[in-house]
Amino acid sequence: MKRTSRLLAASLLAVGVTAPAASAQELVVGFTQDANTLDPGNHRNRETETIIRNMFDGILTRDSSMNILPELAESYTQVSPTVYDFEIREGVTFHDGSVMTAEDVRFTLHRLTAEGAIGDGQTSPRQSLLGPVSGVEVVDGNTVRVTLSEPWPLLPAMLPFQEIVSQAFVESVGADGMATSVNGTGPFKLVDWRRGDSIIMERFDDYYGGAPGIEPVGKACVERVIFKVIPESASRVAALLAGDVHIINDLPPFAIEQVENSETAKVMTVNGTRSFFIAMNVEGEIFDDIRVRQAAAHAIDKDLIIDRILGGNAAAISGILSPDAFGKNMDLPDYAYDPEKARALLAEAGYPDGVDITMDTTGAYKDTAEAVASLLTKAGFNTKVAVGESALLTEKWRTEGGPKTGDMYFTSWGNGSLDPQGIFVPTHMTAARGNSAGYANPEIDRLLDAASTEVDREKRAEMYREAEAIANADVPYVYLWVPQDIYGVSTRLTGWSPSPDSRINLHDACLN
């Protein structure tokens, strides 16, 4: 009897110990996914990058307003449309104490872009993120020159996605070692990676301070950072409310009120970079008629859905680009919500009694798609939502110009760089990967082609504005909205705000 009670007491004590030992020094992030690997050059996964970006720095980085700033580079210059020079910062050390040099930068970029250079004869899956990079060299002691095979204005916007590794370290641990150990220049160094559970990092005390353009400069505020994997959204919210974690990503809109009402946590939002839209199969016999497409655009009350389902946390769009994107056309005409007009257009197109259609979507979008479908149904499109696995829908709708079988596809396209090239080309260029509508307009193709190599920013922006206006008139898609990214954060957290590219950089974050 006595023994049992002592055991009980011991277990209660132990339990008490495990309840959040929330020292001001330890910041925990409740995150949707684990990193796939710790090798910054050998993955193709945004969540992985978000985590490891805290241990690695890039040549360039972005602040929370998406301005591109030098980080490991002191400065950079565009020598010609196809040549960029990066002056590398001095006095930066890796976590193991070795000095980072321009050679390491060259090595990193080479490792990312050259065939078979990532290790084991394989090529980095990030190669395509660096587009036409064809050569990297160290021109004088501290300058790294990047040569492109064709003009590519996107280069500075894409470089924050790449992190610098140590050549000596890579050569000593090999590809397998890179996957599980870290030797970066970032503000935190790796303590332990508990696969599928958490990544534990501690402050790197010899940190050079980070991008001078982002205040404050210096070593990180918190001593330890833990990314804790909690995939289920309700559990993530619960962990935040319980004080187990201090930041959670992907807070569902319906949980905003609850988090706001709690005394320990609050909500932070930032404009996202993912555009939602409905692709209409313009090759199909229903949607090849522009009147039908216009009818669909008029049938959907975007504001209602944004207000009711997304909790007001989204911006309606009339073209593919996010309002924050480069070259966004802010004067696009809107297809106002008008079910009567939609019916009339449908009747004009030969469907006076409405038309039966199917709208494909993935499980994650089921709710919104069903809401959209019921609006369409009220306007004469008798819409059936078909939920499918994303792998199957990708195969069905991303035919790259091949024949398509569906009617409508409720989907989205992410554009972390906020440059139109990353979203406009794949979704609107004839036979492009993400052109699920099967849309083909030579004028658009011409504009997008020209813009991709146009070096003059204003001219380039004008081309995109023109292209967006044409697409708006052709309505191959019903452009819906760009949702905000919603985070739940502890009220004790300061010095951190969410970033549109959905990174969680914790260099400046502090806990009270």
Partner: protein, 299 residues
């Protein structure tokens, strides 16, 4: 022990036995009440369009996550509140009964039948039949079920029949294993040996001698598995492979509603209660029926 003493005294005519059993069953108020609940659910399922207060697919975003009538913000015309798209939960539970009862009953029935036949054959005939069946069972059991179901659904595409097939694939092996194990023991018993000695055919022995003696554990397991099947359908919904919208199934309702459990508990709780109620009723009723009709349970 009292069996031998009372058995001789049970009445002579078949019809009166049935009548007495029926009387016993009706007299067992709990079991009878449960049977009524099951019947009510079936009735609701069949006459859903006449009974349900609203259209199950009718969305109204202004009623999104509206609480049940008795809570602040509720309305009596939406008794159990509304789901994320403002659809009436009561209506969807009534319509959902169609899908869930159908899936549950069909899967358990088909799976149990297949399982019993295969299990009897394996356990009684032994030899290569047992070899083959046991290996197939091992393979299917060794194959993680959700992975199998996902693969199957991905191959065949979504749809009610495909869901049933995917579930039957998994479910039949369980009665099969149970029946095989019991048969292995039972076939060695003397009365079976006696029947064999008398020249009874294998089929006769399996169906007349062995089956009745091993049926009761199988039935107990089967009725309880029906709940499991309804939940499994929810798991498929959890993975986005369940019934297609806007069809309501209880499993899908619980699964979809789980996201709101911290904010709007009613969305997943009421369909959950419906599952519980039905499963409970089926169980109590089937136990009552068995107690009333199976002489071995007479007291």
């Amino acid at each position: 022990m009292p069996d031998t003493d009372t058995k001789a005294s049970t009445g002579p005519v078949q019809e009166t036995i049935f009548r007495r059993n029926m009387r016993n069953f009706v007299g067992n108020r709990l079991a009878f009440g449960s049977a009524l609940v099951v019947l009510i659910f079936i009735f609701l399922a069949i006459f859903a369009p006449l009974v349900a207060p609203h259209d199950p697919a009718e969305t109204d975003l202004f009623r999104r996550l509206q609480p049940p009538a008795w809570m602040p913000g509720g309305e009596w015309s939406y008794l159990l509140g509304c789901d994320a798209l403002g659809r009436d939960i009561l209506t969807r539970i009534i319509y959902g009964a169609r899908i869930s009862i159908f899936i549950g009953a069909a899967v358990v029935l088909v799976a149990t039948t297949i399982g019993i036949i295969a299990g009897l054959a394996a356990g009684y005939l032994r030899g290569w039949v047992d070899m083959v069946i046991s290996r197939v069972v091992d393979i299917l059991l060794g194959f993680p079920y959700l992975i199998f179901a996902i693969g199957l659904m991905a191959m065949m595409g979504p749809g009610l029949i495909n869901i049933i097939i995917a579930l039957v694939y998994k479910e039949w092996v369980i009665p099969c294993r149970v029946v095989r194990g019991e048969t292995l023991v039972t076939r060695e018993l003397e009365y079976v040996e006696a029947a064999r000695a008398l020249g009874a055919s294998g089929r006769h022995i399996m169906l007349r001698e062995i089956l009745p003696n091993i049926l009761s554990p199988v039935i107990v397991v089967s009725t309880i598995r029906m709940a499991h099947v309804i939940i499994l359908e929810a798991s498929l919904s959890f993975l986005g492979l369940g019934v297609q919208p806007p069809t309501a199934s209880w499993g899908a309702m619980v699964s979809d509603g789980r996201a709101f459990i911290l904010q709007a508990w009613w969305v997943s709780t009421f369909p959950g209660i419906a599952i519980l109620l039905l499963v409970l009723a089926i169980n109590v009723a089937s136990q009552g029926l068995r107690d009333a009709f199976d002489p071995r349970f007479h007291e």
